[in-house]
């Protein structure tokens, strides 16, 4: 990294100006700008690195539906359940059931209407009104299986490849493998919902990878990055003076320890911080977006949840167009053990327009091809329920053997359904793969080979899939 001080001038770099200028341009110009940005990014630990193989997808937006969305009530309808509704489900009992899944159990039908969508004709929950318009860009996958039915362990598994917290998150691995485009912004950004997910920040930890690859959560209100803004009462002018003084002290100190190169890196980090401080507010500011853009994402509508989720989706798009490599957007509240009609209904209304807006916007800008979008929860839901609170309040419990997930853009096969679950949705039955294969596939789509993307830690060459996995080729053309 350059050690030339840019701090005292606080002038935006040429790249900064390019971004800002780029916002209003058409998609071709924007792509060219992003490419030039990639070419000129500084060296350093997060500098862009060539992928292991040529690929379309350059970046990823991961929409994480926390709580375990039901495949049966979203994209994988099971009409059979209507005829079985409220009949007893004779389940094999064994010691691998959680308490939640024991006791008398009954099949329950989906309370939702389904309708065919797109050229592809997939049947989806008809509450997905806007999303129905973009399904032809989407590849639905019904063969994936998780391993845990416990939220935090399943979330860790989906986000980090192991059920224990503390391993590097997918976004950290991708940043480690590919670096990032914009050295003034974090490589891996997380946009959490109101509350952090179960298991907390370990869901986006860099684990044993160096801290540069850590996910940075952007806060929905206040300072987007912790302590990024000077405290109230400190003017930028005064802070610049403080920083200049600090810089002089460090220079004098470095003269006494000229051989110690870490000192330079630390001085540079203050300059980088200052550049991030200058650039980030512009990226997170949605107030300058056009009314058309805002409404495309469902921002400003009467549904507060839809507004908040739409904002996170638009922010995700702005972050990736500003050169962030990996953005994870969280939407919580999918854990509908009871009242699934109300609970899932509200969730679907909350995410419908944000998702559709995101896919449309990316397509409009010509970026969908090179942006991988993933939508998934930590597991699916059961076709049966213990029927708490009488017959009207039914929902579904956790299910690791079937789950909904879809991918779009980034070279995946648009308008296709891959794999299948059994007739009641209890378990995946065709093109069945474990989570690690999904991870290997995600890396593959981004140009990374899981078996080459390794890091030596505690005497073991660690990799996202732990022990290797298989690319799910059916998912991409």
């Amino acid at each position: 990294m350059s050690t030339k001080s840019r701090l005292l001038t606080a002038m935006p770099t040429r790249r900064d100006l390019l971004y800002r200028a780029g916002m209003g341009l058409g998609s071709v110009a924007l792509k060219a700008l992003l490419a030039s940005q990639e070419a000129q990014a500084a060296d350093g630990v997060l500098a862009p690195k060539p992928p292991h193989h040529a690929t379309k997808a350059k970046r990823c937006i991961f929409l994480l539906m926390e709580g375990g969305p039901s495949h049966i009530d979203t994209f994988d309808p099971k009409p059979k359940l209507s005829s079985l509704h409220m009949t007893k489900f004779q389940k094999e009992r064994n010691k691998f059931e959680a308490n939640m899944n024991t006791g008398e159990r009954y099949f329950v039908r989906s309370p939702f209407e389904f309708r065919r969508a797109g050229q592809m004709g997939i049947e989806i929950n008809s509450l997905f009104e806007k999303f129905a318009g973009v399904v032809d860009d989407v590849c639905f996958y019904r063969g994936l299986r998780a391993e845990s039915v416990n939220h935090p362990t399943a979330l860790y598994h989906l986000n980090t490849g192991t059920q224990f917290g503390g391993d590097p998150a997918v976004g950290s691995w991708v940043s480690y493998g590919l670096g990032t485009f914009n050295q003034n912004l974090p490589s891996f950004v997380v946009l959490p919902d109101l509350a952090y997910p179960q298991g907390g920040a370990a869901n986006w930890s860099a684990g044993f990878l160096p801290a540069h690859y850590q996910g940075t959560p952007l806060r929905p209100a206040g300072s987007p990055v912790l302590d990024m803004a000077p405290p109230p009462g400190t003017s930028m002018e005064q802070q610049k003076a403080d920083l200049a003084y600090l810089s002089e002290l460090n220079k004098l100190h470095h003269q006494r320890h000229p051989e110690h190169s870490e000192l330079l890196a630390r001085m540079e980090s203050y300059e980088l911080a200052f550049r991030m401080q200058a650039e980030m507010p512009g990226v997170v500011d949605l107030s300058k977006e056009s009314a058309a853009t805002l409404s495309m994402y469902g921002i400003g509508g009467p549904d507060k949840d839809a507004d908040a989720f739409g904002r996170r989706c638009l922010l995700a798009r702005k972050l990736i167009t500003s050169g962030v490599r990996f953005v994870q957007v969280m939407a919580s509240g999918w854990d509908s053990h009871d009242y699934i009609e109300k609970a899932h209904g509200a969730r679907i209304r909350a995410v419908d327009q944000g998702i559709a807006g995101l896919l449309k916007d990316l397509k409009r800008m010509g970026l969908l091809d090179e942006t991988l979008v993933v939508w998934a929860g930590e597991f699916g839901r059961s076709p049966d329920n213990g029927i708490r609170q009488g017959g009207q309040a039914w929902g579904r419990d956790h299910n690791a053997t079937a789950m909904p997930i879809w991918l779009a853009g980034g070279g995946v096969h648009a308008g296709r359904i891959v794999g299948a679950t059994d007739e009641v949705g209890l378990a995946s039955a065709e093109t069945v793969h474990p989570i690690k294969d999904f991870h290997v596939t995600l890396l593959h789509l981004l140009g990374l080979d899981d078996s080459k993307l390794r890091y030596l830690h505690a005497g073991r060459e660690k990799q996202l899939s732990q022990t290797g996995g298989q690319v799910i080729r059916e998912l991409f053309a």
Partner: protein, 867 residues
């Protein structure tokens, strides 16, 4: 034709194939395949340990068709010719082409199987990779640290740096042994003391100071992943875990012999029944994250503990990363899967308990009354609010029944109304659930003040289960030891061969040190393990600990990977020195303090951090493994925080007892935190400064909510053993130190302190440098500082500080998992009156300007690096 080719011609073909089998085929089958497809595991019902097994094949049919490689699934899999590709793990795990070709030839020649060939799993390792398992050397070429270090330097013709300047030396030693900077008076006294014994006396003083136990206890807590909560969904408090933390601090402070330290932590309950100290020590075994809820599977939860404890004991005391052997024979070290599960079986009878254990002399209970009262106030208030909902539910039910008195309700209706809360609306119900969750958490916290131990026992103690409501222990009399079996691929659902408890055989194998039988009874399994580890003849124990101590002094161990002394760990730079120190450590009664003296009194430790000839060093020893100069390194996050508090004069003298709550970033404090089904109470820093400004080791360690300032400076993971702190440099560190409210507040407090201690601008700046750096400012630094001070003062004159913002109520939203609706709550205030920090609006422009100087010093490289 050479001799070899001639011989090849002469031997009969059968024999040649046998030799290929012995030299290539069988080793590959045993090393790369049988982990999953062997007699113990046989995934896909395939067993590759015999020719019959290959012919019989597995779920996909026969694996071998003799004479036809292309038709043999075994060949097609290793050639990755088709959808089945083996060994798994992607292309980099595949067998080399020449091996694949050898398989092809072998199959085509009839797949001859030599029944007599039996690979010795123990004979497969290179001597150089087994160094740590060999007995300690007994005869040494040198008899001091410097003897070994200087010999290598001389060998490489490297000139050592001269001794460090005295002010730097006392700063280095003080930060090293206490984690705090020396006071200006201590620096001056040492600089002035030219006596020969001055330095040795300094080390003795530091080793005796209270800061020593707090500093070195923290290192141990890194290794054991200490936390005050259990992690996962509820992240429940472990209200008595602090007694283990204080035990560790006491152990270092009192120089508890390390062998005793091991025995107590691994088997204190078994070896020293009735001894409270030893019982508390067993908290080590359950320090990892753990939770069992209605949504987790009991057998899985138990297995996660067993894997965790096997791994943690191996890494902590033996420097072995055994986890790889969970699924397959260890690929690099001589740890067969069977040995891993035999080791695990030692813990099969280890159960969680929370028995009563009276407080010991030396345990800190002084602040209990205030702590209890504060919690009680929260509990009572929460209870009141819950009662309110009971009343509402009851009143509405009465209305529905058209009555005005509870007595007029039909029998049982009142109770049911209160219990079911059916009369509450969705929002009220969510709020009720919130209070319910808070009650549960507060009730658990009340146990902080009870004389109980966070401990284990062999078999349950009647009535003392400690696993939450979802775990049921049988009575002790009905308890049976859980069977442990090899789990093929780590998969709990298809157990393989059952094993009896046992030790890692590699130790006996390569060192000759005895391998005692582990009893199969419920009790005393761990006792044997502990005695076996805490023994002078165990080649790993002393080496591993000595290396850790060395690492904390120099920033890097003699062997760099202090949790991995196996093949994949980097080899020691000075193996003989490591052995000599280990032998000395044992000889001096496993005294850690004696070891500190041995290391710190060496010239190697006292050298300047500037290489004598940097160019020479760059060429010969660029990573400074040979220690021709003292390696400068960044201090840990806790040291940064504690040093800031010390300079500000705000560091609390209080020690021990339940964790306290430091001032952390406000956004993080207010961040809603999920607790299964609801939200936790808001993080509140301790109301009193003397509570919240304690040394960081006393901070409540919550797995799901880490002080971001500690975290950003590479704090230790609470999930995995942290063998060594990373020192990455990231811009968010700058934000935290420059803009963080804590650092800002402390800079102001330091300025106010310095104004009381010195009168002129110049003397104040000088005092600031002495406090922060242990030295006076240089001429240019003073000029620079005075200029910045005057400029800032002028600026602040024109820009008065904004008034203090009174605390705002914290509003949280939660999305109901029942209905998907959002509900809004105002979180409770802390009942205690908050003792505020000094605020800029309370001081003049001069103090604020001086605070700016302090802020820069806290951010400077000199403050965060040790030289």
């Amino acid at each position: 034709m050479n001799i070899l080719a001639l011989m090849m011609l002469m031997v009969p073909p059968l024999a040649a194939e046998e030799s290929v089998f012995r030299s290539i085929i069988q080793p590959v089958l045993q090393k790369d395949c049988e982990g999953c497809h062997g007699p113990a595991q046989a995934l896909s019902k395939l067993d590759l340990s015999s020719r019959e097994g290959l012919l019989r094949g597995g779920q996909r049919g026969p694996a071998l068709v003799p004479g036809k490689a292309e038709a043999s699934l075994l060949y097609r899999a290793i050639a990755a010719d088709g959808d089945l590709k083996m060994p798994p793990g992607g292309t980099s795990n595949r067998l080399p082409p020449e091996t694949v070709a050898a398989f092809k030839r072998w199959i085509e020649a009839g797949a001859v199987w030599d029944q007599t060939a039996k690979l010795d799993v123990w004979g497969n390792y290179k001597q150089v990779d087994l160094w740590a398992f060999r007995p300690l050397k007994k005869i040494f070429a040198h008899l001091s640290v410097d003897g070994f270090i200087n010999a290598k330097l001389a060998e490489k013709k490297l000139s050592p740096a001269p001794a460090a300047e005295r002010r730097l030396l006392i700063r280095r030693a003080t930060l090293d042994l206490t984690g705090l900077p020396p006071s200006p008076a201590e620096v001056e006294a040492f600089a002035a003391d030219r006596s020969k014994e001055a330095y040795a006396k300094l080390i003795d003083r530091l080793l005796a100071s209270r800061g020593y136990g707090e500093r070195w206890g923290r290192h141990w807590l890194d290794v054991v992943r200490y936390a005050d909560t259990g992690g996962y969904s509820n992240d429940f408090e472990r209200p008595n875990a602090w007694r283990y933390r204080d035990y560790v601090i006491r152990a270092f402070q009192n120089d508890k012999p390390y062998d005793q330290f091991i025995r107590e932590q691994v088997a204190g309950d078994e070896l020293y029944p009735g001894n409270g100290e030893a019982l508390i020590a067993t908290g080590f075994l359950r320090a990892g994250p753990w939770e069992h809820t209605g949504m987790s599977v009991e057998a899985v939860t138990r297995q996660m503990f067993l894997d965790d404890v096997t791994h943690s004991v191996s890494a902590t005391f033996l420097g072995l990363t055994a986890g790889c052997a969970r699924c397959h024979d260890h690929k690099f070290d001589p740890i067969p899967t069977k040995d891993y599960y035999r080791m695990q079986a030692i813990f099969a009878t280890t159960e969680f308990v929370r028995p009563s254990a009276p407080f010991l002399p030396g345990e800190h209970t002084h602040n209990f009354d205030a702590g209890r009262a504060n919690l009680k106030a929260k509990l009572d208030r929460t209870k009141q609010q819950m009662d309110e909902f009971d009343r509402t539910a009851l009143e509405r039910t009465m209305k529905q029944h058209g009555v005005t008195r509870t007595e007029d309700l039909p029998a049982g209706v009142a109770e049911k109304a209160k219990r079911s809360k059916a009369a509450l609306n969705g929002s009220e119900m969510e709020e009720f659930k919130l209070f319910q969750k808070h009650m549960q958490l507060y009730r658990e916290s009340m146990d902080r003040f009870e004389p109980k131990a966070f401990a284990v026992s062999s078999g349950p103690l009647d009535g003392a289960t400690d696993g939450g409501p979802n775990l049921k222990y049988p009575l002790r009399s009905a308890y049976q030891a859980q069977d442990v079996a090899i789990l093929p691929g780590g998969n709990l659902q298809s157990p393989g061969e059952k094993v009896t408890p046992g030790l890692f055989h590699l130790v006996h194998r390569y060192s000759g040190y005895g391998e005692p039988e582990i009893p199969t009874t419920v009790g005393n399994r761990r006792a044997v393990l502990a005695q076996w580890m805490a023994h002078p003849d165990n080649p790993l124990t002393a080496r591993v600990m000595v290396n850790r101590i060395w690492q904390y002094h120099f920033g890097k161990g003699i062997a760099t990977d202090s949790n991995n002394f196996g093949k994949m760990g980097r080899k020691p730079s000075h193996p003989e020195l490591l052995d000599w120190l280990a032998a000395k450590f044992i000889q001096q009664g496993w005294s850690v303090k004696a070891l500190h003296r041995e290391i710190m009194l060496s010239a190697a430790y006292q050298r300047s951090s500037a290489a004598l000839d940097p160019k020479q060093v760059e060429r010969i020893d660029p990573t400074n493994d040979l220690l021709s100069y003292f390696p400068p390194h960044r201090v840990e996050s806790e040291v940064i925080r504690d040093s800031i508090l010390a300079v500000a004069g705000e560091l609390s003298p209080d020690a021990g007892g339940p964790g306290t709550f430091p001032q952390i970033n406000k956004d993080v404090a207010k961040q809603p935190q999920h607790r299964m089904g609801s939200l936790a109470p808001v993080y509140r820093p301790s109301a009193l400064k003397r509570e919240r400004n304690r040394r960081s080791i006393y901070s409540f360690q919550q797995r799901s909510l880490v002080d971001p300032m500690i975290e950003v400076f590479n704090g230790a993971s609470m999930d995995f053993s942290c063998e060594r702190r990373e020192t990455s440099v990231v811009p968010t560190q700058a934000f935290s130190l420059l803009n963080g409210q804590f650092v800002q507040d402390m800079a102001l407090a330091a300025a106010a302190r310095i104004e009381r201690e010195a009168t002129t601008a110049e003397s104040r700046i000088s005092r600031a440098f002495s406090l922060a750096f242990g030295r006076a400012p240089t001429g240019p630094e003073l000029t620079l500082s005075l200029r910045h001070y005057e400029q800032s003062k002028a600026h602040h004159k024109g820009h008065p500080a904004p008034a203090r913002v009174p605390p705002q109520p914290v509003v949280h939203m939660i999305t109901s998992e029942l209905t998907g609706e959002q509900h809004r709550f105002v979180q409770q205030e802390d009942p205690a009156t908050f003792e505020e920090n000094l605020h800029p609006s309370q001081v003049g422009p001069g103090t604020r300007a001086l605070a700016g100087i302090l802020l820069a010093l806290f951010n400077s490289n000199e403050f965060v690096y040790v030289y």
